[in-house]
Symmetry: C2
Subunit: 360 residues, 2 copies
């Protein structure tokens, strides 16, 4: 944890959930959906993913007010075969839809061994890692892909025009008995960097550490402000081996937009997402113990691998976030700068008291 | 196609299949398995994947002779829930096992919507793209992961010791009505390059175009001969963003070795593979037409994207291989140098006539 993070005021996670749920409700969201959305956003802050936590809340509330995020009703069931289902998300809150899909897929995976749910027309689903982390803590494997067919910022390998989105995928799985060992939770985009990171660095007047973008003419650049001015983000692997990120992005777009039937062909706009969520129950394969015997072994071998010169000990994907989460649950959530300030005018308007920092 | 490829002698695919099947049978493989193995290897040569075609045949025959590849019997069924199954491959030929799993998963996906098969203790499965390409041509989506728990050549991100294998994943899906449009078939490893490529360049006395390896001390290098001398292959993304390849590799090892229950914890050796094969039927989700409406749209947009300065038109993953395959089926397979020569002594020993090149 950086010194800046260490000095941030900390808030009780429960108090943050309460204020977020109250704000969602004040903007017309039914109590059940409001509580789940508050939980999903605070989970992101707990794991230190500050771009996808309560920092998103003002934007989500604006989307509700503009009628772009719907808050009433249920997803429409397009197809259901038991081991797989397809939903039209009808613009409903993505965190709520995805958590609902995770619960259903987990329940059904216990019967069928696996369950896959494709959701089209979902609103933004926030931080992907939240969902596989939860599944893995329950002894399940979870694969979650998301794409944003309303935006295009990533160029195919060899191109200088954007066609794809960062197209993240997150995978979570247990490495030992429940509660004993932290699960592995990967969360990577198919592009070198993301739209959110480009916007953030642009606001801060900073540059990327390497030329991770192309300008409109296709020349490499480290200038994040090129996004929105004809520039594009390079696929993972960059100019050197970007065929890998390009392949990952196409697979994610097919699984999310193809299976759900909602995607770029419909020319959607804004924060809409297409989602592919799959839960696999190790108990239906060789068994949970056989599973963690292998994954625990490999996780330990990674941790024990000698670091490169000058590098810290090797970490597992998700390890830092899950440790931050444990600490934040014990000591409070160190909210990133500006987040409470952004909630202040909205809370005041609705007469919702904001929590004070802990230990002050 | 390069001039060197254009000048290679071409052979009828059917004649290559016949000689490969005869050689497998001469080494004790039952006729059915021999025919499938021959088909899988020749499919790889048809798509131009020369490192995974008939070039592997001498090595496979040696493995049979050494008792490391078993040729009799069936996989042991460890678990079966209909929508998923787990096999102990018992060291049987990987191409035959994977093709058998693909056929079963395709049949079952038509009922359950998806079907997932985890195979442990399989022998080497060859070129991954062969299987998803076949599924996609039949209107299905296929996700195939493979890992080689008997070898370790890839270092975790930030480490200088090998723990993982290149851990490839291949995804195939249709982009239009059957026969009308080529499917997309991705085939990427989680490492920047592979063991096979390192061996090949070492034999040719060549170097990698960029520092894709680390030496035993963890310093970047382009010397392929470092593999086997304490060197490691960098994960995809390299020193710049290798957390992505590291995450991909761990996910692939969990899906293949964790679910099958066969992996590094058992300290296997040689060419053994753990496999995760999944087929998804778009008809069970939003429908095949809705699927290809999205994937066809995005494929066309990628092709139409303006190339970077000096770059050729943008291609789709698998496009080159599938076009080479069409040409090779029409004009013959341009076998890479040395492949017929390597088969010659074995064919002679068993009195199997080798085919001559076409049009000579």
């Amino acid at each position: 944890m950086s010194a800046a993070q260490e000095q941030r005021p900390r808030y009780a996670a429960s108090a943050l959930r309460e204020v977020a749920a109250a704000l969602f409700q004040a903007h017309g969201t039914p109590a059940g959906k409001a509580a789940v959305m508050a939980e999903v956003l605070v989970e992101s802050d707990l794991m230190g993913h500050v771009t996808h936590g309560l920092g998103l809340l003002p934007r989500y509330l604006d989307e509700i007010d503009a009628g772009l995020m719907r808050v009433e009703g249920e997803p429409e069931i397009i197809a259901d075969r038991g081991a797989c289902a397809t939903w039209d998300g009808r613009g409903l809150p993505g965190g709520w839809l995805t958590m609902k899909a995770l619960d259903l897929a987990t329940e059904r995976a216990r019967v069928h061994g696996t369950c896959t749910i494709a959701i089209g027309n979902s609103h933004h689903i926030g931080c992907l890692a939240v969902y596989p982390a939860r599944a893995a803590a329950a002894g399940m494997v979870c694969v979650l892909h998301s794409s944003a067919p309303g935006t295009a910022s990533v160029a195919p390998f060899g191109a200088r025009q954007a066609v794809l989105s960062p197209d993240p995928v997150s995978v979570g799985y247990p490495t030992g008995p429940a509660g004993a060992d932290l699960p592995v939770v990967t969360d990577i985009s198919a592009s070198i960097t993301t739209n959110n990171m480009s916007q953030r660095l642009t606001r801060l007047g900073q540059r990327f550490p390497h030329p991770w973008l192309l300008d409109a003419e296709g020349n490499p650049s480290d200038d994040p402000s090129l996004i929105g001015k004809g520039g594009t983000i390079l696929p993972a692997g960059g100019l050197d081996h970007g065929q890998k990120g390009y392949a990952m992005a196409l697979a994610t777009e097919a699984l999310t937009q193809g299976l759900s039937g909602h995607g770029r062909a419909d020319k959607p706009s804004g924060m809409m997402a297409s989602v592919f969520l799959q839960v696999l129950d190790p108990a239906a394969f060789a068994g949970l113990e056989a599973f963690t015997r292998q994954t625990g072994h490999t996780a330990a071998a990674c941790r024990a691998a000698a670091p490169r010169p000058g590098q810290p000990p090797v970490r597992l994907p998700g390890e830092r976030g899950l440790k931050l989460r444990e600490e934040a649950l014990a000591r409070g959530v160190p909210l990133a700068e500006g987040i409470m300030a952004a909630l202040q005018p909205r809370a005041e308007r609705h007469g919702i008291p904001l929590p004070g920092p802990l230990g002050h």
